[in-house]
Symmetry: C2
Subunit: 378 residues, 2 copies
């Protein structure tokens, strides 16, 4: 194995795969990054028990040579130190030579590192997925679907399938659902898929999805999604991202989403978010982080919160209020999470009663919704 | 107590005093910020057992009214929540009213907070210092003296006086010395002081000094320093900073600083720092974080480091080398700390032998030095 590679391209690739490299040393080889060079370029692979990321540095990009291959081959290098070295090398290019005992020499500028590598044959193979369940969507859309639902998964490992996001595909519409059973977020979008392709009960761990969003970064263009029985793969031109799926059956959430309502408000997303953020300063140290809204016919949401030892806050936000006047209490953090996930300037919230779930939606679209269960107060 | 204050000026003042506010609740009143308004403006005070910071928001600054006083008075508010509220208030101005039970109403824009305040009489008084030991220097100079010595104090509480920086004043020259007994840093500068003022054995806790540097921020102009038996005070127009002094006698460090040498190198500070930084990637996981330099007559410092399980690194840095060829080993982190503290582009290092301390100085000045004790290696 002998080649030269552009240092900046290598730095970027290492930082992408590093997110998947195992921090635990239970399986020592997984604390390494597998590197393979062939005629097409350099491949880096990082993996832990949940996800695997493979990134390519191509031989050429934008008419610039990024990799100059002399001898093809493969080696596994210790992940953390390899990444740190690559970032701090002094030159624009890295010369890379591996001997038959996996000793790897990295030369750049006046610096020369020798690293003890490992046999790449000991590194786990990539999962092999059949491509019969495949669809395509813009990377940007996938990232916003993750951002608008991922926060609502349960963070308690004991909750099983609720720690993941449900992916469903039906008649070309992809639906993401996440819930921790006190709040729920749902986002739908049209994707490029065969008309007859239906996907049900695919549950992707929330942690994998937040890593996926980071890995996609500001990547443009389309991504392929390939689903198998226990793995999902996201593929772009230079990237493969694998995640295991969660086992189990996701609960049917359709029946918990109310359709009619008693009171509806429409108001500025930003004003409402900032008022809740301020009220949470008082409520955050209390149990349940509870704040109260009073919806008033004259066109006002009164935001209240009080804590015995600290004090209280009251604030009014102008809103279009239709239906009955009412009061409702809920977890301030859950409300902030939902409001932050809405990209529209105006928001519509539909209330069904003081003790039943209410629905938060962008005022101008139907493809996203957030549901929160209120809190009973004295 | 009733007044209005500019929110941005208040935010800045709160963030300055917050550094001193106690996190521990052993003395509950010290988790609060004392606020006092009088004809001159608003004073905020934060304090813990080691240091006290008092900041003023004046009635007028740059022809703008910052504080509009109606009724003078004083109250102690819970520190953390008060700071968070001030940062998140919606308006440009804060209306502030305190009733006779210390209930404090803060009104800004459409938001209104009520906080439970505490009786200001229970808040400790500021130390009263006689001004007979006083000198003056630019804030900028004080900050760089702290930056160039503070890192060398011992971080182990058990080391007593070595956790502080020694301040000495003699014939108008202020000297800072810090050592943890393996490395030492010294910085000297001329200050404005009475010719006959001599200050000895004033030891300021390292932690207080790093808070002081942050509190001074990008403040320009001069600061007064007032020294008493067990307190030091730093004063600017709008700021009072008090720190307790450490008790005990600081060791005499003059005799450990070598004057002559065996080998001297002069080279680029930045090139040398970067090479040590890279070599430390290999050494950092090992005991003592040790790297080796070989000084070669042909004008090269060879930087080496090796770790059994990881690998090795070798790199050459061009340098003017005068005197005998030699090899020397030392803690890489200590070297990086010293090199980062040097502002000059070129550096001079004077070696007295492989087992005796060596001296790092900016090549173009004598008022700063760093000393490091080498490590014995096989």
């Amino acid at each position: 194995m002998k080649f030269r590679v552009s240092r900046s391209a290598l730095v970027e690739a290492v930082s992408q795969v590093s997110k998947a490299v195992s921090q635990k040393t239970t399986i020592p080889i997984l604390t390494g990054i597998k590197t393979t060079v062939d005629e097409k370029g350099l491949w880096l692979t990082g993996s832990n028990s949940d996800l695997t990321i493979q990134v390519q540095v191509p031989v050429m990009a934008d008419d610039k040579e990024l990799v100059h291959v002399e001898i093809i081959g493969s080696v596994v290098l210790p992940g953390r130190i390899f990444g740190d070295i690559v970032r701090k090398l002094p030159g624009d290019e890295v010369e890379w030579v591996v001997d038959d005992r996996w000793i790897t020499t990295l030369r750049s500028g006046q610096a020369q590192f020798e690293l003890k590598g490992l046999d790449p044959e000991e590194y786990p193979r990539l999962p092999q997925l059949r491509e019969d369940q495949k669809f395509t969507l813009p990377a940007e859309l996938l990232k916003s679907m993750i951002r608008q639902t991922g926060f609502a998964v349960s963070t308690s490992e004991a909750r099983g399938v609720l720690t993941g996001v449900l992916w469903q595909l039906k008649e070309g519409i992809l639906t993401f659902v996440a819930t921790d059973s006190i709040r729920l977020s749902r986002r739908q979008a049209e994707v490029e898929a065969p008309a007859d392709l239906a996907i049900e009960n695919v549950i992707v761990p929330g942690k994998s999805l937040s890593e996926l969003a980071k890995t996609l970064g500001d990547q443009e263009g389309f991504v392929d999604v390939i689903v198998s029985e226990n793995q999902i793969m996201i593929r772009t031109e230079r990237l493969l991202f694998f995640s295991r799926l969660l086992e189990g059956t996701y609960p049917d959430t359709n029946r918990v989403i109310p359709t009619g309502g008693k009171t509806e408000i429409v108001t500025s997303t930003k004003d409402l978010l900032q008022s809740v953020d301020r009220a949470a300063l008082i409520s955050r140290d209390g149990r349940d982080n509870v704040i109260k809204w009073t919806l008033k016919e004259e066109g006002v949401v009164e935001v209240n919160s009080a804590a015995q030892d600290v004090g209280s806050v009251v604030e009014e936000v102008a809103a279009k209020v239709s239906g009955e006047e009412m009061g409702i209490s809920f977890n301030a953090q859950y409300m902030m999470d939902a409001l932050k996930a809405v990209d529209s300037e105006e928001i519509r919230i539909l209330f069904t009663g003081a003790m039943t779930p209410f629905v938060i939606q962008p005022a101008d679209r139907e493809d996203a919704l957030h549901l929160i269960v209120p809190i009973r107060t004295r």
